[in-house]
């Protein structure tokens, strides 16, 4: 009051009322001791974070405004990452559940590590398989690992290296269930399996079609670039079964029936082709439109739904009739390549960085009139994809369809570009790869690949899921998309190189990459004399995908399981089988932040609740290791831009929390200690492993920088290499992942570069490092015309500078720097010498992008519309081939499929994400600030369906499939349209899939309903579309739950109850092809 009388603030409203405490307020950001640079640990946008540290604790986490990707912004998850890392949800002590135990016990970390090492040694010994069917396999199927997309590249690298050294092949991570079909789809089309463009480039698009992605919700900070484009006048189109937060911001929303996108995209392709609206000069020069296909080829249009080469017995294709006309495909050695050796399970994914083998000099018809040229085949193939067909199949009315066609055509060509953005709405289908192929074809016809504002933006999932594909913890791949060797074909290095390399382009140098990898793995033990220890690599004999591993667990083959940050009891298809598989293990190691459902199923899982399992009868030993968070470790994440970003540790982890790098390294050390001196031949591989990483700090943390340097590779002089072109096949170079070679160029950690975006051009080449060789737009040679000039000044990216004699521009040219546009190679040239000046797709065997895929795919050279596994509809195109004939089914108890068109499961279900949660919930359901925003599992239904099934807004409903039942609160909303397909109404049920019974925000997991049915190229499950019934009210508890599911199954005429999957061990079953 005194100040009021004496000061200018007479009324006591301002200055006079200020307290001393207020006057002294400072922000804890400004007063922090230090600022540590990091990256958001949630999604693949890879937003940069500043960690503010005071008094040895992280006190605030905010966006880093310097980042060209995020410009300082963070979505709710990124904003909650302080609570994620310092909140009450995190465990800090090792927990142990002994066999048949009913509670957790605490044991100390060293003891736990010793116990796990003992179990690895024992199980490996007991289950070692030296040969299979007379071929050497040198492996164990007794151990498996899952997870990696949340981990750093360095961690994935060590895990894969260790497991491979141990002979473990069942190594998988989220990349399988998430985007594996992206790798196969984009890889076979363009030569690389990564997004062709980067988020920031979307701002230059004139039209963006978001289809199969809920961009605004799942990549919120990346969405700023869509908004940027919109503000510049671009047309934003969202094609999705549901009206989501993305649709709300779009100019045009088009509802579509899930599972029908090939029909929709095929319709646009047909429109473009019949109206002649393709970008002819681009198509002619940069795609294989002119290539002539073998006369033996027959289309699905000719063979009623299958392509030529179909073998109904094996349910696989012999792909030889899909080849280019001309001499048979030859291996580098000049021998004729056996395509069947190439087309084995999991191989398609090797196109993540390199195309399939083809004859580089196929006959071409530049007039595009030859009936056997790709262009004409395409025209015929898609001719029946009319607007009426689209309407009938997708539920998209002709007017909306027309508007999409018009927008795309108007915004493509020389002056304009359109981009596609998709994510797992496209990938998770039994035809996922072909969805992406369809988009690739369309974008190629419109001339939108390799150009600014164009491309196909594959929106990847986790913080480093791109990295966990590139440096894979995947069964079928070695780092850099080098395939894992097969027992029957890849007996030695030469045979292996023959199968995997191409005669033209960079993949012709495969031997350099493979040998350098073997040197990185086995160090000095790898010599030319012993084939660089190629024999140490365990061999595949078939598919060992995550779902095959589940089967192996159910079948009692797989006995030990590592979960490196993945929650299959919630996140994987058919959650019940996931849990039953785990209940059949000898031991399980879970490394995570919180006690996720995959760690606690033995005491509180559904099957325990229903009495199907009894805790005191489950033999599985469970180890829970608390994981260190991103704030507590160094390493790199690879985001959806293929961009590696290094993050620094801010603090030491507390308690027993350790990084996965620490775990992998010390586990390897302990196992090697136990085996030291062993004379068993099968222990050689693990003992020969180069496993001498420097450790630092009080926790003996291995140096992530040292691991990254190994990934980058060393030259003969021991200095880091700068480019994969420096790799050699004589053993003088070592490189842990050839496509990441250059990340340590000049001995500098390029991934740690943080030059603010405000100080550089829009490609921001000095922020982090993108593979390959820091290129941001792939195939950017295509941004220039055949003569090397930009198609238009509006869309310039790289161009040929004749005065300098090299390619130059805004991006790093994705081309041989000094290869002139008019260069034409000699007819017998090989490898990179065989590339011509108009071959922008340098990883392809013919330098061209593939409208038609003559090799590399398991289910056809062209996308064809097939219905999903569970579907209420006929296939009007191919009535006798309703579904993808090559899809992989596992028709066994516990994984029953719905009879097509079943009245018992009449509604279409789709599953998806919400902005506020993350995946299977481990990183959001325990975080109060996120949990409160979407506190409970719900389902979304249209008012029509609500009326039909008497569902009440806000009430409860139970959704039932042949696999299980879930309850959910009901949201009745117009956002979930009931689709009108030319007279028929299809009601949809929308289910977010984030919940489980643990944590703060709880609910039933949607994956109780889903089945395991896979895309044959990528082994990805069909979790985006299934069918079910919905009933008002909550689900029964206890025994009533399986009874309910069984009752429905019986009504649908699905197998008698006694054949249901029982918790006890099953006899071995192999997977089968589909039944069409």
């Amino acid at each position: 009051m005194l100040r009021q009388l004496t000061g200018p603030d007479r009324r006591g409203l301002g200055a006079a009322a200020k307290s001393r405490k207020t006057a002294e307020l400072r922000s804890r950001v400004a007063t922090a001791d230090r600022v540590v640079k990091s990256v958001c640990p949630y999604c693949a946008v890879g937003c940069a974070q500043n960690l503010y540290v005071s008094g040895g604790r992280v006190v605030q986490i905010e966006g880093d405004p310097d980042s060209p990707v995020s410009r300082g912004r963070l979505c709710p998850k990124g904003s909650a990452s302080l609570q994620l890392t310092t909140g009450p949800g995190r465990e800090s002590a090792v927990l142990y559940r002994r066999p048949y135990g009913t509670e957790w016990e605490q044991i100390d970390l060293p003891t736990a590590m010793d116990m796990v090492a003992d179990r690895v040694v024992r199980t490996r010994r007991d289950t070692w398989e030296e040969e299979c069917d007379g071929k050497r396999v040198a492996r164990t199927l007794g151990i498996a690992a899952l997870g990696g997309a949340t981990l750093d590249n360095e961690e994935n690298y060590l895990i894969k290296k260790l497991m491979t050294g141990l002979g473990v092949i069942q190594i998988e991570n989220q990349a399988r269930v998430c985007h594996s079909s992206t790798v196969t789809g984009l890889g076979t089309s363009f030569g690389r399996g990564g997004s062709t463009t980067f988020l920031q480039d979307l701002q230059f698009a004139d039209c963006i079609v978001i289809e199969g992605s809920n961009f605004a919700e799942a990549h919120p900070v990346g969405f700023q670039w869509v908004m940027e484009a919109k503000l510049r006048g671009a047309t934003i189109i969202h094609v999705d079964p549901r009206f989501s937060r993305t649709s709300a911001l779009a100019d045009l929303y088009v509802p579509i029936r899930p599972g029908s996108d090939i029909a929709f995209l095929g319709g646009i392709i047909n429109h473009v082709l019949t109206e002649g609206k393709d970008f002819r000069e681009y198509v002619l020069n940069y795609t294989n439109a002119a290539s002539i296909i073998s006369g033996d080829y027959a289309d699905t249009e000719d063979l009623d739904g299958v392509f030529s080469g179909w073998n109904p017995e094996t349910r696989t294709y012999d792909v030889s009739s899909w080849q280019y006309e001309g001499p048979p495909v030859q291996a580098v050695s000049g021998r004729r390549l056996r395509l069947d050796a190439y087309h084995t399970p999991g191989r398609s994914e090797a196109h993540g960085s390199g195309g399939a083998p083809v004859s580089p000099y196929a006959r071409r018809d530049e007039t595009l009139t030859d009936p056997r040229c790709v262009y004409q085949i395409l025209k015929r193939h898609f001719a029946r994809y009319t607007p009426e067909f689209v309407h009938r199949t997708c539920g998209v009315p002709p007017e909306s369809f027309r508007r999409v066609c018009d927008a795309l055509i108007a915004n493509s060509g020389r002056e304009r570009t359109s981009a596609f953005a998709y994510a797992v709405g496209w990938t998770q289908h039994s035809v996922g790869t072909q969805y992406i192929r369809a988009a690739s074809i369309l974008q190629l016809l419109l001339g939108n690949i390799g150009r600014p504002g164009g491309g196909i933006m594959a929106l990847r999932g986790h913080a480093s899921i791109q990295g966990s594909s590139d440096i894979p913890t995947l069964y079928n791949l070695l780092p850099g998309y080098i395939p894992m060797p097969y027992a029957h074909s890849d007996e030695n290095l030469d045979a292996f190189i023959d199968v995997i390399s191409t005669r033209k382009g960079f993949w012709a140098d495969a031997r350099n990459y493979v040998v350098s990898l073997l040197k990185a793995y086995y160090g000095d033990a790898a010599t030319p004399e012993n084939d660089f220890c190629f024999g140490h690599l365990p061999r595949l004999t078939g598919s060992h995908s995550a779902y095959d591993t589940t089967m192996a667990q159910l079948d009692g083959v797989c006995k030990g399981y590592f979960l490196f940050g993945q929650n299959p009891a919630v996140g994987s298809a058919n959650a019940r089988l996931q849990r039953l598989g785990m209940a059949n293990l000898d031991w399980l190691v879970v490394r995570d932040f919180a006690l996720i459902e995959s760690a606690t199923w033995w005491k509180d899982g559904r099957e325990v609740e229903s009495g199907e399992l009894r805790t005191d009868q489950i033999a599985t030993e469970v180890f829970f290791f608390p994981a260190a968070a991103h704030t507590e470790k160094n390493g790199t994440f690879t985001n959806t831009n293929r961009l590696l970003q290094w993050h620094d540790a801010a603090v030491e982890p507390e308690g027993d929390r350790r990084s996965d790098l620490w775990f992998a390294y010390h586990l390897g050390r302990l196992v090697r200690e136990r085996l030291a001196g062993s004379r068993e031949p099968y222990d050689r591989a693990i003992l020969d492993l180069a496993w001498d990483y420097p450790v630092e700090g009080p926790l003996a943390e291995p140096s992530a920088a040292a691991v990254l340097q190994e990934i980058n590779g060393y030259g003969p002089d021991g200095r880091p290499l700068s480019s994969y072109t420096q790799l050699r096949s004589d053993g003088s170079t070592r490189c842990g992942c050839w496509i990441y070679c250059g990340v340590y160029a000049d001995g500098v950690n390029q991934a740690a570069r943080r030059r603010p975006h405000t100080e550089q051009s829009w490609t921001s080449r000095e922020w982090g490092w993108a593979w390959p060789l820091n290129r941001r737009i792939l195939y950017n040679r295509a941004s220039a015309d055949p003569d090397g000039n930009p198609w238009s000044s509006r869309k310039e990216c790289v161009w040929w500078d004749a005065s300098l004699g090299r390619w130059t521009g805004h991006d790093v040219p994705d081309f041989i720097e000094d290869l002139p546009p008019h260069h034409r190679p000699a007819d017998d040239a090989l490898g990179t010498d065989a590339l011509s000046g108009v071959d922008p797709f340098i990883m392809q065997g013919d330098g061209k992008a593939w409208l038609f895929a003559p090799a590399g795919l398991m289910d056809g050279p062209l996308p064809t519309h097939y219905e999903p596994q569970d579907t209420p509809l006929e296939n009007p195109l191919h009535p006798s081939r309703r579904r993808n004939p090559a899809r992989l089914t596992y028709d066994r108890p516990g994984n029953r499929y719905h009879p097509p068109g079943s009245e018992v499961y009449p509604y279409v279900v789709t599953t998806y994400r919400l902005t506020e949660h993350f995946t299977a919930g481990g990183m959001s359901r325990w975080v109060p600030h996120l949990a409160e925003l979407q506190p409970q599992m719900f389902c979304e239904v249209s008012p029509e369906l609500a009326e039909e099934r008497l569902l009440e807004h806000g009430g409860w409903a139970t959704v039932i499939s042949a696999r299980g039942a879930v309850e959910a609160r009901v949201i009745v909303t117009d956002r979930m349209p009931s689709l009108h397909l030319d007279g028929r109404v299809v009601h949809q049920i929308g289910l977010p899939y984030h919940w489980g019974p643990n944590g703060l925000a709880t609910g039933d997991p949607a994956n109780e309903l889903t089945s395991i049915v896979l895309d044959p190229n990528a082994d990805i499950q069909e979790t985006k579309v299934l069918t079910a019934d919905i009933q008002p009210g909550r689900r029964p508890r206890g025994r009533g739950l399986p009874l309910l599911v069984e009752t429905f199954r019986r009504r649908a005429g699905i197998d008698p109850p006694d054949e249901q999957e029982q918790p006890e061990r099953q006899g071995p079953r192999t997977r089968r092809g589909g039944r069409g």
């Binding site: 603030d9 912004r73 709710p76 919700e217 009315p397 007017e399 925003l933």
Partner: protein, 283 residues
Amino acid sequence: MAPRAPQVQEEAGYPRHPPRMGFFTDTSVCIGCKACEVACKEWNRLPADGPFELTGMSFDNTTQLSASTWRHVAFIEQRKPVRAPGGPAGDQQDLRWLMASDVCKHCTDAACLNVCPTGSLFRTEFGTVVVQDDVCNGCGYCVSACPYGVIDKREDDGRVFKCTLCYDRIGDGLIPACAKACPTESIQYGPLDELLERAEARLADLHGDGVPDARLYGNDPADGVRGNGAFFLLLDEPEVYGLPPAPRDATRDLPAMWAHAAVAAVTLVCGIAVAFAGSRRAG
């Protein structure tokens, strides 16, 4: 020309002061991600609101601005009747999903501030309105005074809380946590005059692009609170978003109220005088 924001700082005893700072929340680009809600809670260490139950109010589960939610994102699902009768129901062009992040308006005439008996609420040198948690005695007067229903009392704590416009950040030259997080720049922070100009331009753009529903809210210095320090671009009537269409600072009527009270007091005295007068010698 955009109206200029009243510079309230001088009235509040800051002869020398930085420009008046505020928010322009452009709801036409809001993606409803709630980053603003979370960033605010993290910065201000606010508790989550239990119980963890679904409200059924579209995607809004925090329901309102409160003592522990200082940014609140509203979700409104609308069906505008443009669907041709009998036409295809598949094309959902008539569907709208409005999202808007609400916050304290930092009113020019702030009722909460005016009525606060302790001086806990005060006007800062940036022209914002802030509660001082070391002064507030939890009388709750401000809660009833605020015409927007912003400020609220936390029962377990006893005091009231609301957005401070990150007074503890902007003084250090930082931008508020919510604005910093917002992925689409739906929340823009800056000198109020600049924001008002930018908002007018954006409005004109939207009108030009055929969004006639767009309007500004809280930008008018002639309104019942002399304009807001945090104003909005809305796509429908304010009440659709839970905002009052014509809020007023009740304190404007205070002189009248005092006058009426005085007359009433005199009436009371007179009344009793009359009572005595009429009772002379009666006892």
